[in-house]
Structure formats: structure tokens, C-alpha cells
């Protein structure tokens, strides 16, 4: 695994690089020949109408899916050269996720949910780090609550804590405020940017929300699976 990973290392400039990325499902092309690179520590929004291929692009960039053509490099590691377990390891060591529907594991408490990524690394029982992160997002009193006992905003903040516990190099957020009201959404975004700054993480947000997109340093606009503007 180590040799496989080092063999794919190339340069050191971009944390994420998409090269001629194409994804087709049967005869349907969802993502067409997309190229971009995202600098380490920057933030970027991918926007576009429904069906424009945003979520597919996010899935490909995060190594959740395999492109039909092209390459994805995360921290100069070619995801296409790795097997599924290799990609899982890259995700665990380099990537954090925030989902529109929170995706907390319903049978785990907030604290246990946050601990999972570190436990997967074999770092024992990282209770202290998880507690600190949950306190930081305002859930210090909700540690032993299950997702069903938390509000939507609280669930998303717990998800944020889980995404940052491994201090990922890059964080992908898929419509992080999509299931929240404006007030709660604002609070989550504040937490997101604050943690991003604190950990120096690269942030890639897929969103419909132009206000949220404006808060990032770069906006990639998609239409019908192709990049129509980038800047």
C-alpha cells in the first residue's frame, strides 16, 4: 500500500486535481471532460442547477466513485491507481465529509459518531479530542445524545465535528445547509469556516446557495456536466 501510494505522488502544488474527468452511466454522460486544480488551504464552491453533475463531481473528487475517463489526484495521489481499500485509507487520512442529510450513524451517540474516523485509524479511544470538537461547535451538553434526539442543526454540527476530527487536508461539503432553515444554516456555515481556518483545511462545497458560494475564494459553475465558468 505504501509503495502504491508513493508511486502516485507527483508534485506538491495542488491538493486536488481533476484531469479530463468524465463520468457516464450507460449512454448518459453526467460529467464531461472536466479539468481543474484546487490549491492547498483554499476554499471553493461548485454550483449549478439540479442535474448539472455537482454531486457526481463531488463523489468522483472524494474517491467515492470511479471516473469513466480521466484522473483524480488528492495530495498528488492518483485515486484511480488505488483499489477500494486504498481509496478508503486516503479518505480516512486526507478527507472529511459533510452531507446534506447529516449521515450520522443513528445507533451511535454524538460523541461516538465523532470518534469513529479516529478509531478507524487505530488511534484508540479519542474521547478527549471528540469532546473538545463537540464543545467547539456548541454541543458540549449533547455528547451522549443520539442523532434522533438532536435537531437538524445540531446533527449537522456534530457531523462537522466528525469531519474535522482527523484534521483532513480537504473537506467536501455537499449542500451542508440544504436541510436547514436560514438561521440554523448560518450557524453551521460559521462553524464550518471557523474550523476550516483553524485546521487549515481545503474546503470544497457543493451548493445551490449563491450567498454561501460567495463566501468561498473560488466558484466553479457547472451546466449539463461541463464547467461553464471558473473563478
Amino acid at each position: 500500500m505504501v509503495s502504491q501510494l508513493s508511486a502516485t505522488r507527483k508534485g506538491d502544488s495542488a491538493i486536488l486535481e481533476a484531469r479530463h474527468l468524465t463520468k457516464t452511466y450507460g449512454s448518459l454522460t453526467v460529467v464531461k471532460d472536466i479539468n481543474f486544480a484546487i490549491e492547498r488551504g483554499s476554499s471553493c464552491a461548485i454550483i449549478g442547477p439540479s442535474g448539472s453533475g455537482k454531486t457526481t463531481l463531488l463523489g468522483l473528487c472524494a474517491g467515492l466513485d470511479q471516473p469513466s475517463e480521466g484522473q483524480i489526484l488528492i495530495d498528488n495521489i492518483d485515486l484511480g491507481a488505488l483499489d477500494e481499500n486504498g481509496r478508503a485509507r486516503v479518505r480516512n487520512e486526507n478527507i472529511g465529509f459533510v452531507f446534506q442529510n447529516f449521515q450520522l450513524i443513528p445507533t451511535l451517540t454524538a460523541l461516538e459518531n465523532v470518534m469513529v474516523p479516529m478509531e478507524l485509524r487505530g488511534n484508540g479511544s479519542p474521547t478527549d479530542q471528540a469532546r473538545q470538537l463537540l464543545e467547539r461547535v456548541g454541543l458540549g451538553q449533547r455528547l451522549s445524545h443520539y442523532p434522533a434526539q438532536l435537531s437538524g442543526g445540531e446533527q449537522q454540527r456534530a457531523a462537522l465535528a466528525r469531519a474535522f476530527i482527523n484534521q483532513p487536508k480537504i473537506l467536501f461539503a455537499d449542500e451542508p445547509t440544504g436541510n436547514l432553515d436560514a438561521e440554523t444554516g448560518k450557524l453551521v456555515i460559521e462553524n464550518l469556516f471557523s474550523l476550516n481556518t483553524a485546521f487549515g483545511t481545503t474546503l470544497v462545497i457543493v451548493t445551490h446557495d449563491p450567498d454561501l458560494a460567495r463566501q468561498t475564494g473560488r466558484v466553479i459553475r457547472l451546466k449539463a456536466g461541463a464547467v461553464v465558468s471558473d473563478g
Binding site: 454531486t55 463531488l58 463523489g59 472524494a62 467515492l64 466513485d65 477500494e84 481499500n85 478508503a88 485509507r89 486516503v90 479518505r91 480516512n92 487520512e93 478527507i95 465529509f97 452531507f99 442529510n101 449521515q103 450520522l104 450513524i105 443513528p106 445507533t107 451511535l108 461516538e112 469513529v116 474516523p117 478509531e119 478507524l120 485509524r121 487505530g122 443520539y146 442523532p147 434522533a148 434526539q149 466528525r162 482527523n166 455537499d174
Partner: protein, 849 residues
């Protein structure tokens, strides 16, 4: 694979497994209950098997009561006696025959197996009598030991008298057990022991009595009995003597016990298999609910093997819990099985818990449970992390997963392996697996047809509640097929058993119908014939038939003498048809139960050198003779040359005298023999009157009351079916557990639907009605599936195995159809309690947690 094993030994995997099932533990435990009864049955049966094997080994010598027994249908000749003398040791003699026994206490009589005994038999083991001192009194020749059941039947007491033939003797004791003989055997043929010296006084020692002469040997210590028998085998064959040794009896008994064990084991395995299917169905739903969690774990960097290990650990825990509970239950109930089977086991045995059998049952249960759980669990391997992003993500078609096929194959091989039994009978195991596959395929097919009909039947014009309830049977992820399997199989087993039970019992009664003979008088000496006929006619009873009987043996077939044929091991011919004594008749006509199937019936001959005879088709097959073949019979030392003129089918179920060999008139009139008279008695009082009159006037004549035989057979059938029902009960109860666990797994879906309906304005009554319709319909469809299959199975068994007319009783068909819907509705509504009277939002919050 190594990755998976590695992760299974990591603490995190088990911690995550424990956390992940936090809200489902009770549910998982319920799933594991599906296999509990199967494991318990296997544990109890395994213990029984181990105990039986131990008892056979420990009590080997008492199984025969002697080291060696040699017997013949004729009195032993001087040559035979000199052979016995050479064998040495201590001898005991027995002459046994069937005769009427008259009880003075109630003025009643019954046919019994009379055994005239002298010497110290049994040399090993002992007669069990009440009082036990009766055995010593018997040895002093003071009277008779009489089967306990006979004494109860005729209200006779120890100290009273019985008459056998012309001899009246006191009853010394009630005979409870004879070494190596089962209680069921005693029911068919009740035993009466008399001292040998009383034989002449009975007047039953004449040539007309068909008796068996046996000599029992207690050989000197350390004699190699098997080698001794081997050394005299040529002489035994020459004299047509049969023999039995402890080893032979042990082997036969061991085989019989093995067959019994095997049957019970397969019944237990069926319950386990059904439980396994229940586990697969429940785990399938569990896995579907866990797919999002698995996807999130994958997103967070959990590898394929690691994620799979978490859920496999749950499957392992499920199997361990089910196996442990089953083992505990098996240990608790294993004492019950020997009691259920007591009548069929010809020896007493001390019941001890067989730990190996319990552990083995647990291991089998665990393997079956895990393999069935693996089928749905394998889906976890195919969960894409993308499923966390896209709610609509579905796993790839499971049918294409080669690992799933591999698990399926392992499962089939394991089932065949477990079904092999200790003797490793492949044909039986394959037959079992094939039979089960057929039953499941039939259930699936019937279910599919019924579901299709149901779909067609649902019209928009039907009331909303009915339509909605029925639609639940084929909603996505429905449990319909699983429930049809579990409930259908249970219904099928119970109904098929009940149907068959009724048909067999009914057939006995029909065979003994109004116009047919139901009493047979045999051992009538030729000179007694007019007197017996007159006595019968004077009672007054009809003389329906009178038949002469001539005893004979086969000397040669197609020019080859019997000794040569017996020595020919290559021919794989059964030896008993060659050795046996045939009681044949001569007649000019065929009876209703007989039909010529080949050749030509000849009813008369005059001075023929070669007599044309008719041979029953079954025995003709065993003897390997056909039309035109020559058979020479030995009739009291005179060779009678015959030719097979025809082959006959005989309806043996007709309880009247039937014969393997029929001779024409003009052939055997001068041969010594006896006669049989057939009559019909209207009731048991008339039967008793006939028996009393006959015992008094012609004590050597035996009367068989077919009504009593029917009752005895019915009693034995009841015992057999009790055991079968007892084992089927495990499957039926497993079916109910599967039903409960299946309804629990479908609970969340029902809650969501009910909440949605209530949000849209449905009343509690309507929601209740929908649930009721769905559960009741499930019960009806499962009942129909099971019943259709039971009818087909009962028909096939009646037609091809028991050869009886298919006449199903309505009760076993109707009863499950009434009970099942009530049962499914009751359990279903019980599982759904709380849906109706709690606020929708509260329910959703609780369920989604």
C-alpha cells in the same frame, strides 16, 4: 479473506458491532430465536441417539437373552440335534405358535403367541413380571406368564386361569418385558409363556399347528460366537435353519435405531432449515436498514473488509446466541424424547445428557444460521460510499454476486452433509435435500400463482381498506414469500400428516367394510371342517368362504435347487422367499382382491405332471420367475412340479386370507393340510361369542378378529403419528417464530405507512382494518399454499407409498385455513400495538432511532 479475519480479531470491530446494534439487540435476539427450536431438536435427538447407541452396546447380550439362537419351522431332526450337541454350552428350547387363549375371568378369548419354554432362557437379562417372583414359579412349571395388556383387556388377575388348547393353567404373573422385544411388538402379538412340558396337554402339538422351534445357547465363556456360526453355516443352510447372534441382533437393532435417529434428525434439521430461512429474511431487512450506516463508514475511511466485518460480527453473535439458547433448551427437553419413543425401543436405558451431541447441535445450528445470515450480509461488501451522497442508491443485483452463489452451494453441501447421518447414506441425504428443494419450489410456485391471482383481483372498485391491506402483500421489500415459506411449510407438514393419518385409519375401516369378512378361523383340521362350519352357521353367522391350506417349501426354481440358489451370492436374490414356508391353497376361482396381470388363470387340472399355478407378482419378482418358469415344491417330503401359468396382483390391504401361490382344483386335494373359514361378525359381542364357542368345541382352532387387528394397527399408527407430530411441532413452532421476527422486521415500514395514512386523515379504525386485512390475507394465502401442497403430498404418498385410495378428510384441510389467519392476525396486531394510539411524530422519532 485474510483482511476480514484480521478485522474480526480487532476490538474496534466488535465495539462498533455492539454500538451499531444498540437499538436492535432485542430484535436480533428475536431473529436468533428462529434457530433455537431447530438446535434444541437436534440436541435432544443427538442425545437420544448417543444414549441408544450406548444402551445397545451395554445391553448387547440381553438383546437376545442368549449367545446364539437357532430356529426352524419344523421340529429339529436327529442330524440337527447332533449339530446342536456339538456346539456345547447350555441350551434352552422354545416352541412358539399362535393359538387362542381363553380367559375364564371374563369368558373371553384372544389369539396370542404361545411360547412353550424350557431351560434357563433368558441366559442374559431377565423377564420382567409382576410379581417378579412369578419368573421363579414359572421355572418350576407352576403355570403361565401372560402379557400384561392381555390381563388388563380381559380383566384377568394373577391367580386366575387361562386355557390354551385343552390345557387350563393358573396365571403366575403379568409379563411386562422380554429381553430384546419392544412394547409395540407385544401389541401386535401378545405373548403367553407356558412350560414346555405342558405342550402335550394343550393338544396343540399336532401337524396342523404352524410352530417355530428355537434352541437358545449359552456358550462357554470366551467362545467366538461369530466364528462358531461361520463354521456351521453350510450345515445351517443345508437344514434351512435360521440363526441369530448377539452381534447380528446388535447390528439389526443398531440399524433400526439408526433409522429412527436418522428420521428424527432430518425432522430436526428441517426445523433448523426453516429457522435459517427466517434468519436470512430477518437479516435481509436488518441489512437494508444498515446500508446507510455502512456507506457512511465507508466514506469515513472504513475499508470493505472492515465494514463487512462489523456486520458479520453481528451475524456471528446472532448465530452464537441462537445456538446457545437452542443448546440450553435442547438439554432441558431431551428427557422428553425417550418418553415419546418408549414403545418403539426394545430395551430400557438410563438417560444421560450427551454433551457432545448438544455441542454438535449447537455447532450445526451456528453454521446454518451464519450461512443463511451471510446471504444477505454479503450485500454490505457491495455498498458504495456514494450511497451516503445519493439516497436512491441501490446495491448491485445480488444474483450476480459469485460469493453469494458460493455461500449457497456451501449451504446445500452442508445440509446434505448434516443429513447424511452417521451411516453416511448419500441417497437418503440427497433425497432429503431434493425433497426439501421440491417442497420449497412448490411453495414458491404456489405462492407466486396465488399472488398473481390476488393482484388481478384487486380492483379500484374494492373498498379502500381491503385494497390497501391486500396491496401490502406485494409492496416493495414485503415479507410475503418468507412468511409463505415458514407458515406454508408448517401447514404442509401438519396437514399432510393429519390427512395421511385419517386416510390410513379410514382405509383400515373401509378394507374391513360392511359386506366384507372380518373374522378368520384357521388351523381347522380337515376332519373338523364340517363341525366348525356347522357351529359357525348355528350361531348364526355366514360362512363366507372355506379354503384348504397346504404347507410347502420351494425345492428348486428353473432346475436349480434352493441350496444352489442361496449359495449364489452374485444373483443378489433375497433369501427369505427361498427359505420360507408357503401356505398355499387350491381353488377354481379368483377372489375380488386378485387380478391376473400376466399369463392365464387355470382353475382345474386332472392328472397333470406339471401343475399350472398362479404366483403373486411381488413374490414372483423376488423369486425372479415369470410365466412359463418351473418351480418344484416340497409338500411334506413329496416333490410337486409346477409351472407359472399366470401372475396375479393381490390387494393385501383386504384383511382376508390371501396367498402367494394359488394351485388349481385337482392338484393338492390329497396333500395333508388344514382349512380356513371366513365369516363376518356384526359386533364385538358376536365376535366374543364365536371365540368362546370355538375355544370350547375346537380348542386348536384359532380365530382372528380383524376388527381387533384394525384397532391394534390404529393404536400403533397413533403412536407412530404422535412421534411424527411431535417432530413436526418443532417446525411449526419455528414457523411461528419466523412469523414473529418477520413481522418485527416489517414493523418500521408499517409504522411509516400508518403514520402517513393517519397524517392524511385515516382513522384508527381504518389503519387497524388495513393491518388486519394484510395479516389475515397472509394467513389465508399461506394456509392455501400449505394445504395445496399437503393435498398433493398426501395424494402422492397415498398413491405411491401406501397404495391406498386418496380420500382426504375435510377437517385437516379446513382447520389450518381457519386457524392460520386468526393466528397471523393476532400475532401481527400484537406486534403492531402502539401504532394506533400514539402520535405519528413520536412514533417516527422512536422508530428511526
Amino acid at each position: 479473506m485474510s483482511d476480514l479475519v484480521k478485522h474480526l480479531f480487532r476490538a474496534w470491530t466488535w465495539r462498533m458491532c455492539w454500538r451499531d446494534c444498540r437499538t436492535n439487540r432485542a430484535r436480533l435476539l428475536l431473529f436468533s430465536l428462529s434457530i433455537v427450536l431447530g438446535v434444541a431438536a437436534l440436541a435432544a435427538i443427538g442425545s437420544l441417539g448417543a444414549n441408544l447407541a450406548r444402551a445397545v452396546e451395554e445391553q448387547a447380550r440381553t438383546l437376545l437373552g442368549a449367545d446364539l439362537s437357532i430356529s426352524s419351522r419344523r421340529p429339529f431332526s436327529a442330524d440337527e440335534e447332533s449339530l446342536f450337541k456339538k456346539l456345547g454350552g447350555t441350551q434352552a428350547r422354545q416352541i412358539s405358535f399362535n393359538s387362542m387363549v381363553y380367559f375364564s375371568s371374563t369368558d373371553g378369548s384372544r389369539l396370542a403367541e404361545v411360547r412353550m419354554l424350557n431351560g434357563g432362557f433368558p441366559f442374559y437379562g431377565k423377564f420382567e413380571t409382576e410379581p417378579q417372583s412369578a419368573v421363579q414359579d414359572f421355572k418350576h412349571g407352576a403355570g403361565a406368564l401372560v402379557e400384561e395388556n392381555l390381563l388388563i383387556q380381559f380383566d384377568a388377575k394373577v391367580g386366575g386361569t387361562i386355557r390354551v388348547g385343552r390345557l387350563t393353567v393358573p396365571i403366575l404373573g403379568a409379563l411386562k418385558k422380554v429381553p430384546g422385544e419392544s412394547a409395540a411388538l407385544a401389541m401386535i402379538s401378545p405373548r403367553v409363556y407356558l412350560p414346555m412340558k405342558a405342550l402335550a396337554a394343550t393338544g396343540l402339538d399336532g401337524p396342523g399347528t404352524l410352530s417355530r422351534h428355537t434352541v437358545f445357547f449359552e456358550l462357554p465363556k470366551f467362545t467366538d460366537v461369530e466364528s462358531t456360526v461361520k463354521s456351521i453355516q453350510p450345515q445351517l443352510d443345508k437344514f434351512r435353519l435360521s440363526n441369530e447372534t448377539v452381534e447380528k441382533r446388535k447390528k439389526e437393532l443398531g440399524q433400526a435405531m439408526e433409522n429412527l435417529y436418522h428420521f428424527l434428525n432430518l425432522a430436526g434439521l428441517t426445523a433448523l432449515l426453516l429457522g435459517g430461512i427466517g434468519v436470512a429474511g430477518a437479516v435481509h431487512t436488518h441489512v437494508r436498514q444498515k446500508l446507510p450506516n455502512a456507506a457512511v463508514l465507508r466514506c469515513l475511511g472504513c475499508g470493505v473488509a472492515q465494514t463487512f466485518a462489523v456486520y458479520l460480527a453481528q451475524g456471528i453473535a446472532l448465530g452464537v446466541a441462537g445456538a446457545l439458547l437452542g443448546m440450553a433448551l435442547g438439554a432441558a427437553i431431551q428427557g422428553a424424547l425417550p418418553k415419546a419413543l418408549a414403545s418403539f425401543i426394545p430395551f430400557d436405558f438410563q438417560f444421560r445428557i450427551a454433551w457432545f451431541a448438544i455441542v454438535r447441535a449447537g455447532a450445526i445450528g451456528f453454521c446454518i444460521c451464519l450461512l443463511f445470515a451471510l446471504l444477505p450480509l454479503l450485500t454490505i461488501r457491495r455498498v458504495s460510499p456514494l450511497a451516503a451522497l445519493r439516497v436512491a442508491w441501490e446495491p448491485a443485483a445480488a444474483a450476480r454476486d459469485p460469493l453469494r452463489w458460493l455461500v449457497g452451494i456451501i449451504l446445500v453441501v452442508a445440509l446434505i452433509g448434516f443429513g447424511l447421518g452417521r451411516e453416511g447414506d448419500w441417497r437418503m441425504a440427497l433425497g432429503y435435500a431434493g425433497g426439501l428443494a421440491f417442497v420449497f419450489a412448490s411453495l414458491a410456485g404456489t405462492a407466486a400463482i396465488l399472488m398473481r391471482l390476488l393482484r388481478k383481483w384487486i380492483r379500484p372498485t374494492l373498498p379502500f381498506v381491503l385494497r390497501q391491506g391486500l396491496a401490502g402483500l406485494h409492496r416493495p421489500n414485503n415479507r410475503t414469500h418468507l412468511l409463505l415459506f415458514s407458515l406454508g411449510l408448517g401447514t404442509f407438514l401438519i396437514s399432510a400428516i393429519l390427512l395421511l393419518e385419517h386416510m390410513l385409519a379410514g382405509d383400515l375401516l373401509i378394507s374391513n367394510g360392511k359386506d366384507q369378512a372380518n373374522a378368520v378361523l384357521f388351523d381347522i383340521q380337515r376332519e373338523q371342517s364340517p363341525g366348525v362350519s356347522n357351529l359357525v352357521a348355528g350361531l348364526p353367522l355366514p360362512v363366507l368362504d372355506e379354503l384348504p391350506l397346504v404347507n410347502m417349501r420351494i425345492s428348486s426354481i428353473k432346475g436349480r435347487d434352493v441350496e444352489t440358489l442361496l449359495a449364489d451370492k452374485e444373483s443378489h436374490r433375497a433369501s427369505w422367499p427361498l427359505r420360507r414356508e408357503y401356505r398355499s391353497t387350491y381353488t377354481d376361482h379368483l377372489r375380488d382382491a386378485e387380478k391376473i396381470i400376466a399369463g392365464q388363470w387355470i382353475g382345474h387340472v386332472t392328472n397333470a405332471d406339471t401343475i399350472p399355478i398362479s404366483v403373486e407378482e411381488g413374490i414372483a419378482g423376488d423369486l425372479r420367475v415369470g410365466v412359463g418358469d418351473e418351480i418344484v415344491f416340497d409338500v411334506q417330503g413329496i416333490p410337486i412340479k409346477t409351472r407359472v401359468a399366470s401372475l396375479r396382483s393381490v390387494n393385501w390391504r383386504r384383511m382376508e386370507p390371501n396367498f402367494f401361490m394359488l394351485f388349481p382344483m385337482g392338484s393338492l386335494e390329497n396333500a395333508p393340510g388344514t382349512e380356513v373359514l371366513v365369516t363376518r361378525v356384526a359386533n364385538s359381542a358376536q365376535s366374543a361369542q364365536l371365540q368362546r364357542a370355538m375355544v370350547k368345541a375346537f380348542p386348536n382352532v384359532s380365530v382372528i378378529d380383524l376388527t381387533m387387528i384394525v384397532q391394534t394397527l390404529d393404536a400403533i399408527l397413533q403412536k407412530v403419528f404422535f412421534v411424527v407430530r411431535f417432530m413436526a411441532l418443532f417446525t411449526v413452532l419455528t414457523g411461528l417464530l419466523v412469523l414473529a421476527s418477520s413481522l418485527v422486521t416489517g414493523h418500521f415500514q408499517r409504522v411509516r405507512e400508518s403514520v402517513l395514512l393517519r397524517t392524511l386523515g385515516a382513522s384508527d379504525r381504518q389503519v387497524f382494518g388495513i393491518l388486519l386485512v394484510e395479516y389475515a390475507a397472509l394467513g389465508i394465502v399461506a394456509g392455501l399454499c400449505g394445504e395445496l401442497l399437503a393435498l398433493a403430498g398426501a395424494w402422492a404418498l397415498a398413491r405411491f407409498v401406501f397404495n391406498i385410495p386418496f380420500a382426504p378428510n375435510a377437517l385437516p384441510v379446513i382447520l389450518p385455513l381457519l386457524i392460520l389467519p386468526v393466528l397471523t392476525s393476532a400475532i401481527g396486531l400484537m406486534m403492531s400495538r402502539g401504532i394506533l394510539n400514539r402520535p405519528p411524530l413520536e412514533l417516527l422519532r422512536v422508530e428511526s432511532a
